[in-house]
Assembly symmetry: C2
Homo-oligomer: 383 residues x 2
């Protein structure tokens, strides 16, 4: 991939933001990113908006011109949807648009407004990302689908509920150090194990929350646009897909889409999994972080438990994962999540991650999953 | 833009297709396009799905992996939404992905399943494309918004209801010659003028219908993939935006997004409006075809009526417009419309447009609008 730089980032608080609308959140993150980049709206050639369920939650689609209209510009603007991987997908397509020569400087903003709906209603809305004909129609939900995968994996590889709980504890710990995170409460392994069952073996604290929030990144091919800051490059961005429904998969202990996207991304960036210093992965449920640890090549198949038990993915471990707090601790406003992951990696590469800063970061990776693994986008960033 | 060729096209019947699901329609068009191109699913590197309201009408988002899953492939797949300009936008982004080097051969499929909902429900769903805060919330609908624009235009430039009716008559005439069109009934100017008022001055026959349908195009940079057929190139694809709401526009007699997109497209293709031999434009309401005739540079501002009265845009006129029947006659399954426009232009360039064939077509143009002009994509094709 040609040189594509991150010119600026902006992010809102994640959480239950009842006083802010979808539009306000998208605009807040966009303006913060423009300010961070030292750019004005007129410097932007294209706008990519990541969102999954605004039509259902806010009665609003056509989010491209929603954003350009508020910014007072008339450039190309599109809404990208790939369920919970909408953010990562928008980053990929924005990078493609720059590489194609169509655009030079692009705003990518992800937003979701979820907490206005009741829990049953938002759970049903999220199931639009599953297979309507064989999953959601029959009452399945994503906790149940991931619980099925967790059951198969745990039976085959000996992973325990305590291992899963350890992931949630780590991610809540990291979120406490992130001012924008949804949750700032510490939890213990016992808290997780004693929390209410959602879909066995997954407990309440194995599940990421319903959040509002927005995040924005400005990408550019103009090196002179990036001033007075560390030059972070998009080294790779690749995605792959798998069947919408679990029943069409050959293996429930891994996401094929993630393995394919990762393989291509490593090739594009010309590096190996062992070169990655920090990763943001899609822990919508704790079991999903286990899958990511293996699908991304960080651990051999069935061996993620060793990394968990040895605390290798904590802030002081050899490969910190989800320093932002992940979806579990930082929150999961769906369209914003993939962009938030990129922002965290950019901050780690810039050395601006505050109390969560990892030393000597050269390469960082994001892993953004849609549905039960039907889409996965893997991007690699470096300095 | 580098050489991007059309490798194949596929389209379903447009209409009230109660026996076919969203998924069946998307798959039918995709398989027809693959067959036309002489390709198998394994030849496809990326899938771009254009759709506006499947989450509302079919409880289904995440249409990228819906299509790849059905085709049995695991490549990049994304859902693009830009209201009624979703199809044209997907074409543009697919072309960008090829130009960026990310993909070589891409399937672009647009689909919409609309007739399962009641008229009030589908009208409300379509209003997700307007500004929720200042338009749809207050009960506006698109017929009303276009009627406002028509009123201003007709008052300023002397266009008559009979002129508008003449457009509907032309488009129904062309649709009669198109086997896939929603409508095959001839209408007269009196039929239009005597039809029920929907939002004055627009009558029932000034309005495009609610339709089901799907359309697919395969684009490729591999010239050896296109065998035994006329090589049609994508010469330009450009889009622009304007405010979501009419109240933020300075001029209601033209679409700024269309003027900007057209200007850029002509520059990319290095041709002038007078070079275009045939155009498919977004006649969601008859007044919208009038705007297109001027915004695309075919007629001076306020002068479209001359072209209408002189029958210059009929099949035998100097610049045939909407030979497919347009949205009015061919139907308007939202996500499919922008792709259907491209297919009609490709057929005209190939010389395979049957009874609708225009002689000596060298350049064709598509004009696809979202909302009340908040998005417009203009693409130019040539041989």
């Amino acid at each position: 991939m040609n040189k594509i730089l991150v010119a600026g980032t902006g992010i809102t608080k994640f959480g239950e933001l009842w006083s802010k609308s979808l539009r306000q959140l998208a605009l807040e993150a966009s303006l913060l990113a423009l300010k961070d980049a030292g750019l004005s709206p007129d410097d932007i050639d294209g706008v990519y908006v990541a969102n999954m369920i605004a039509p259902t939650t806010s009665g609003q689609s056509h989010l491209g011109p929603l954003v350009t209209g508020e910014l007072g510009i008339n450039v190309q603007a599109v809404h990208i949807e790939a369920a919970c991987a909408s953010g990562g997908t928008a980053i990929q397509l924005a990078a493609e648009s720059i590489k194609s020569g169509q655009n030079k400087t692009v705003l990518v903003v992800g937003v979701e407004k979820m907490t206005d709906l009741s829990t049953p209603d938002i759970t049903a809305a999220l199931m639009q990302a599953s297979d309507d004909e064989v999953e959601s129609f029959y009452g399945a939900n994503f906790a149940g689908l991931y619980a099925l995968m967790a059951t198969v994996y745990m039976d085959k590889y000996g992973l325990t509920q305590k291992d899963l709980a350890t992931i949630a504890v780590k991610n809540h710990h990291n979120a406490r150090l992130n001012p924008n995170a949804h949750f700032h409460n510490s939890i213990t392994v016992d808290d997780v194990l004693n929390s209410a069952p959602v879909a066995s073996p997954l407990k309440l604290f194995d599940c990421s929350p319903i959040s509002d929030g927005a995040a924005a990144v400005i990408l550019t091919s103009e090196t002179n646009v990036v001033k007075n800051k560390v030059k972070v490059s998009v080294l790779a961005s690749s995605s792959a897909t798998d069947s919408l429904s679990l029943c069409n998969r050959q293996d429930l202990t891994s996401l094929k889409s993630a393995r394919l996207a990762a393989k291509n991304a490593y090739q594009q960036a010309n590096i190996k999994p062992k070169d990655i210093n920090v990763a943001e992965v899609h822990d919508c449920f704790t079991i999903a972080e286990v899958f990511a640890m293996e699908d991304l090549g960080f651990y051999e198949k069935g061996m993620a438990f060793k990394g968990i038990r040895n605390a290798e993915t904590t802030l002081s471990g050899k490969l910190p994962i989800n320093t932002s707090g992940g979806l579990k601790g930082c929150g999961h406003p769906v369209g914003a999540t993939g962009i938030k992951q990129v922002i965290e990696i950019v901050h780690q590469l810039e050395g601006t991650a505050g109390d969560r800063q990892i030393p000597n970061v050269r390469y960082g990776l994001t892993h953004n999953v849609g549905g039960s693994g039907s889409t996965c986008v893997v991007s690699i960033f470096g300095i």
